[in-house]
């Protein structure tokens, strides 16, 4: 086993891995950019190494600096988390040549599944159903147009190096193709450093169901059942659950076995996820392999009782996979909500700024994987995830109610977050019935943030602000800005234009 692990990531996932290290008796090394000097992961790690300027290319994506940090601190292994270098085969290879262990799949498998086009070919050859689509990225504009016509609109532009919805565009007709290809390439280049895109047939209103897999170095491969991830905005998940309300035991077994077969076909090792689309007729198609720990891994941990980060570290250290398929079972129901720094009322625009107040939800069956602390300035440079709220209960309805209550207990003030929006998602009749597809948010939440309840709450917000200025027990000024003195915090300056005894 290792003695020291470097975590090449930030935010909640870095915190998650640091906690696993501590439980396993391993020392942890954090890395951080200048924007993250005060970040939670830096405070929690045993050691922390600065990487330099905030842009990811100069910090969390800079392979040389990260390898040097591992060298300097004597770390033997690197956990990449998700995003950044997690699915970068060149980085995995660099670790191998530098004598460091990359905690993830072997670099050959990573390279194979990381190239979405090659992965699709491999799966098709292994007899695994795939979504119809192009088999090459290097097509001319005319060839793209011909391919789109052959597949039939709507088609989907996808980044070959893709993930997280980056570079993805739905194209409804021929006129929209060229702008979508251009936008997809630009976004893919900036997110992955590779602008290759291809076209796939767009399966309309599918469900997104994925299977967690663990593969030992000796080829023993098990699956840990599914996660239902259909609740998405901008092709990015915001709520996940396990089990999926869409599967029955027969389909679950079939998809699980297919996932294991897919990973064997790719020669995969360590933790990974096989994503499927499930159409209206309950046909499933291989979508891609996520060759990393997933954001939504906790729902699997809660229903199976398996600590996936610990398993990743064990497999990477050379230990044999101790889990057998027949010992694994799903128990109860888990739901995860992703708390993003985004404004749901403005089309989920990122919302950077300072967190002036943070209250973590607590209670039976509630887990809060958090990456931020009060006073932290959420930087503009990185993915806007702040924290994940995960609940477990005996059945789906109990879990849903627990989530609704926990979301109201999860208070983050100072920036916009998705927490309130998610509260209405779990309350929606379609979600309650377990019928939500990937079209759910677009269909039912286009005009979110209007209506009677919203107006009622706004009036109470006004009343509370007014009461606050009249009553002596003032809310703590979340560390007033520079140059502000205590005297400034009076009703006269904070709430101008008020008159005692004024008319209504």
């Amino acid at each position: 086993m290792f003695r020291k692990i470097l975590i090449a990531n930030r935010g909640e996932i870095a915190v998650r891995v640091i906690k696993a290290c501590r439980e396993m008796g391993l020392a942890s090394v954090a890395v951080f950019s200048e924007a993250d000097a005060d970040a939670l992961h830096v405070r929690l790690a045993d050691e922390a190494v600065p990487l330099g300027p905030p842009p990811a290319a100069e910090s969390y994506l800079h392979m040389g600096k990260i390898v040097a940090a591992a060298r300097a601190t004597g770390a033997e292994a690197i956990h990449p988390g998700y995003g950044f270098l997690a699915e970068n085969a060149a980085f995995a290879r660099l670790c191998e040549t530098e004598g460091l262990v990359f905690i993830g799949p072997n670099s050959a498998a990573l390279e194979l599944v990381g190239d979405k086009v090659r992965a699709r070919q491999t799966m098709a050859k292994a007899g695994i159903p795939t979504v119809p689509g192009m088999t090459s990225c290097s097509a001319s504009p005319d060839e793209f147009l011909a391919a789109a016509r052959a597949l039939g609109y709507p088609v989907m532009v996808k980044a070959s190096a893709g993930g997280g919805g980056k570079g993805m565009r739905i194209v409804a007709d021929g006129d929209g193709l060229e702008p979508a290809l251009e936008a997809g390439r630009r976004e893919a280049r900036s997110a992955f450093g590779d602008g290759s895109v291809y076209l796939e047939k767009c399966i309309e209103e599918p469900r997104h169901v994925e299977f967690q897999v663990l593969a030992g170095n000796d080829g023993r491969t098990v699956h840990l059942f599914e996660r239902e991830c259909s609740i998405q905005r901008r092709h990015q998940k915001i709520l996940e659950e396990s089990p999926s309300p869409a599967l029955d035991p027969g389909l679950r077994r079939e998809m699980g076995e297919t996932a294991v077969r897919a990973m064997r076909a790719a020669g995969y090792t360590n933790a990974g996820t096989v994503e499927f689309l499930l159409d209206k007729d309950r046909r499933f198609y291989f979508l891609e392999v996520n060759a990393r720990l997933q954001v939504e891994h906790p729902v699997t941990e809660l229903v199976t009782g398996v600590d996936l980060v610990r398993q990743q570290i064990l497999i990477a250290s050379g230990a044999p996979l101790a889990l057998r398929q027949e010992d694994l079972a799903q128990r109860g129901h888990a739901i995860e909500c992703r708390i993003y720094a985004e404004d749901p009322k403005s089309n989920f625009l990122p919302s950077a700024g300072r967190i002036v107040f943070l209250r973590e939800p607590k209670g039976p069956g509630i887990r809060f994987d958090n990456g931020v602390a009060e006073g932290f300035e959420v930087p503009v440079y990185y993915d806007p995830i702040l924290a994940k709220l995960i609940v477990w209960a005996e059945d789906r309805e109990a879990a849903r109610r627990r989530m609704a209550a926990a979301l109201e207990d999860c208070v983050i003030l100072g920036i916009h977050t998705t927490a309130g929006f998610l509260g209405d998602v779990v309350d929606h009749p379609e979600f309650r019935a377990g019928r939500a597809t990937t079209a759910f948010i677009g269909k039912h939440f286009a005009s979110w943030g209007t209506g009677e309840d919203e107006e009622f709450r706004k009036r109470l917000a006004l009343a509370a602000a007014a009461f606050e200025s009249l009553s002596p027990g003032r809310a703590p000024a979340g560390a007033a800005g520079p140059g502000r003195n205590k005297d400034a915090a009076t009703p006269w300056t904070t709430l101008g234009r008020w008159r005692a005894g004024g008319e209504p």
Binding site: R186, R457, K458, R459, L460, G473, P476, G502
Partner: protein, 174 residues
């Protein structure tokens, strides 16, 4: 007992209310509408309001001149009118002459300029793309007109609210 009138911005919308606070009770009037609430202070940052048979949890925190308030987990920003609470995307200035100043909705980097000065644009046309947190955000015009001024170049880092582009409304013609 105290009574006070307020003019406040909630999420960028100006509202006039009067508030009467007595021991444990609050009467809020806004125009014709009256709301009665029992109020209980739980801590410096938490209030519990009872309105009819509904119990509502409220958390508050101030940052400078803005008060951030969560009502049953839903967040609102309250400030006095001269402080722009600024919801991204609603930061466009409509001047008297019908021209439009388009501002950056959030801090980010200009990755594409789709128009040039003097160019004619149509409503909903993309003018500029600002990238933040790895997301591309297309900034569009809400009016037909002519690009009067471009304030930024590709590669510029911009702060929220920074003017990006000005559109002159097209004079009405036959």
């Amino acid at each position: 007992m105290s009574l006070a009138a307020f003019e406040l911005l909630v999420d960028g919308e100006t509202r006039k209310i009067s508030v009467e606070a007595r021991e444990g009770a609050l009467t809020v009037r806004e125009g014709e509408r009256v709301l009665e609430a029992e109020v209980r202070r739980i801590s410096a940052s938490e209030l519990r309001l009872r309105v009819g048979d509904r119990s509502v949890r409220i958390f508050l925190a101030r940052d400078g001149e803005r008060t951030f308030i969560a009502v049953d987990g839903r967040p609102y920003v309250v400030s006095e009118p001269r402080v722009e609470a600024g919801r991204p995307g609603e930061a466009d200035d409509k001047a008297a002459g019908g021209s439009l100043r388009i501002r950056a909705p959030m801090p980010g980097k200009v990755t594409k300029l789709a128009v040039a000065e003097g160019q004619r644009v149509r409503r909903n046309q993309t003018l500029v793309i600002v990238e933040a947190m790895k997301m591309e955000n297309e900034i569009k015009t809400s009016i037909d007109g002519v690009v009067a001024k471009v304030h930024v170049a590709v590669g510029d880092l911009v702060d929220a609210e920074r003017p990006l582009i000005e559109i002159e409304k097209e004079p009405a013609s036959s």
